[in-house]
Symmetry: C3
């Protein structure tokens, strides 16, 4: 991996992972950011204000210059490939592009063709990867004092299409987490032979939760849930796969609850769990900025 590219978890050295995570925790505890005078561009072909604002806040706190480019509505792309768009931005002085795109695998495709001086961060590609989300989730757990080598982490929801799940499984595996468990509707479980090979699967949330230290709930997308359930409604999903206070009682008493946001309250999670004392959801949001600051520092130094 080039020092300036962050495409997926597998492309990162364990050293770089540990540098980023330690630095994110240090920044969250008040360490001084390294001043930067570089220019980064947020290039979002798939809308995500949450992730865009998080990267923008991180860049702004480092003193980076930020250009926001909404690819969907962007005329920069009229008849132009994503590669030409990124080359154009680089020629204008952009040194690092944060790219979100609905096409799975696009960052891997671009990687060899990009100008060597242009850094790239994958901010989510289709059903592919979302490495910065996994890094911020891990930084959140470390900052919270979770002992990863002994922790049991459960990931629940649409595992088949989730780039968040894929990157989290890859990172937690690299970090030597105690155990990972997967749970979700049959039709939304990952295909065999996939990146989730060898990861423990549960047929219902209750058995997955037994003795868990951390439960990560994934965001439900209505159109996929319909396909998986033959048109069942959200209340029904919640009944089978939603995390309620009652269900959470099956896990350890100090089990942490996570969600990458934005939440569908009353679907993935009941409101009392989302707002309860075990929820790390706003801590994840807070750590997202510090983790992305640490990533910018690592890629731009």
């Amino acid at each position: 991996m080039s020092a300036k590219r962050l495409i997926d978890i597998d492309g990162l050295s364990l050293d770089l992972i540990e540098t980023i995570l330690e630095r994110a925790v240090a920044l969250s505890q008040g360490a001084e950011p390294f001043a930067q005078t570089h220019t980064v561009a947020n290039v979002f072909f798939e809308p995500s204000t949450r992730t865009r604002v998080s990267f923008e806040m991180a860049a702004t706190r480092l003193g980076l210059r930020v250009i926001n480019l909404d690819g969907e509505r962007s005329s920069i792309t009229k008849g132009e490939s994503v590669l030409d768009t990124l080359k154009t931005l680089h020629a204008m002085g952009v040194e690092l592009a944060v790219l979100r795109h609905e096409q799975t695998g696009i960052c891997h495709e671009l990687m060899d063709e990009l100008p060597p001086g242009l850094g790239l961060i994958n901010a989510g590609d289709g059903c592919g990867h979302h490495p910065t989300q996994a890094l911020l989730d891990a930084a959140t757990l470390i900052a919270q004092g979770v002992d990863l080598p002994t922790a049991k982490v459960v990931i629940c929801g649409d595992l088949r299409h989730s780039r968040v799940a894929r990157s989290n499984v890859a990172l937690l595996t690299r970090l030597g987490v105690g155990e990972i468990g997967l749970a979700g509707p049959e039709a939304l479980m990952p295909a065999m032979g996939s990146d989730f090979e060898g990861i423990k699967r549960f047929e219902d949330l209750d058995s997955a939760l037994a003795n868990a230290d951390v439960v990560m709930m994934l965001r439900v997308q209505k159109e996929r849930m319909d396909a998986a359930h033959g048109g069942l409604d959200w209340a029904d999903y919640h009944q089978h796969w939603g995390l309620t206070a009652e269900r959470l009682a099956k896990a350890k008493p100090d089990c942490w609850v996570m969600h990458p946001g934005p939440m569908n309250r009353g679907v993935e999670l009941s409101a009392d769990v989302a707002d309860g004392p075990r929820s790390l959801i706003l801590t994840q949001v807070r750590m997202s900025v510090f983790t992305r600051m640490a990533i910018f520092e690592a890629l731009l130094s």
Copy 2:
């Protein structure tokens, strides 16, 4: 009222009102702004480039970091409540949110549930309040040398739905203005028992204007005018309720003309009045930046 919230005029102490108005006038005369290193977010669920740019200019001149969030197109809100969106922004480091929303009363509803450290400015809620517009209008009049305790102010237009009118009536009353008069089509006059209780009403603009020192014209929205007039056209509205040079002659010779913008030329106002020597419309725009600077200073200090 928390020192960090500006929701409506009634929630402000007279001390704070006077501090803001004096400071706005001082800034407009060249006083040095207080440097700020806070982060504010413009969260606009209802589009308003004019107001957003005015807040952005004010923030930029103070050295604040500004995040612009167009709520309408924002994926931050997918299945997410406004409260969750604001909590998310706060967790990312936003210390003050400027909120515009089409739902009347939303700022009041949010106020008790927001994190204590998050400031909130109501930049217009449905048919509710628009306190920063009222403050900038008052700062404009003070900067112009109008003696409020003796001034007769006329407000004309769609008073029933106007948050600008509601906040102006509340502020002018607090500031002890000489007299307020209201005029507008019957169907667009405020309901009895409303916030406009006890304010003088006129059945036509000419009698309202008699001896006026200030006339505030409200923006007409076509869909509401149609309802009020049974589908009459803009020319017809202009004939009955539009401010022309001829009509303005009924007021005092040095009567000031105001409009919150954007104007419909030839509807609320004839072009010669809008561009004439008695028009304060561009002065209002100019004072909008200084007043919002004073508001940021007051809420963030």
Copy 3:
């Protein structure tokens, strides 16, 4: 011409043109930009992320404050003329507006009515002018060491509707370029008696290219090509008017290839030419930022 207006090439003194071009080249070679504390607004009624980002990068590197205003979706313009919008921005503190608008001639119309203190840069008006594109193209050629007084420049494509072509012909003429040649489909050639009066025309690209030092390809817009060709497809356009390596061989061996972007690969240009050693396309993008920095410096000093 006011020192603060850049509307078309004809309105510029040769002195100012030379100052801008020399400064752009110097900035591209590392000269220190003059620090600026002014506020500029990008007001784009016609979408163009490429041009907007280029102006934004230039402004940011000079330390200017930048306000981005997407006029198309902007409520600042509800029922408001462009003149009122610009007056409003000026009242808010904007000192220079960069305006793109689909209406040909709008900058000329506005010029006399704008507040004297508000600068204006025409960033493209309909089928009118695009003077900053011509300046950056000339700066690119000068930086590349092209000897303009002896150079033969060919411009190919939709000359009838192209503001890029119009401004380039005007600027190259002013700079005393050796020879200009025009080529393109008959239906897309400029009308007689137009700004292109007296400029050499060729009936096919091959003869135009003979002995050329520089070829500027214009962007094709599908709807116009259809009209010109009675619905022929892009492959057909490419066959007649596209620049291929084979065709480029008719020009001088060191002939430069330019395109204002965004390119339709395989239409105006074959990919091997676009990415080949004679292509200046990314150099133009790079010079666009330095040229616009030089323009800001010249207009704001």
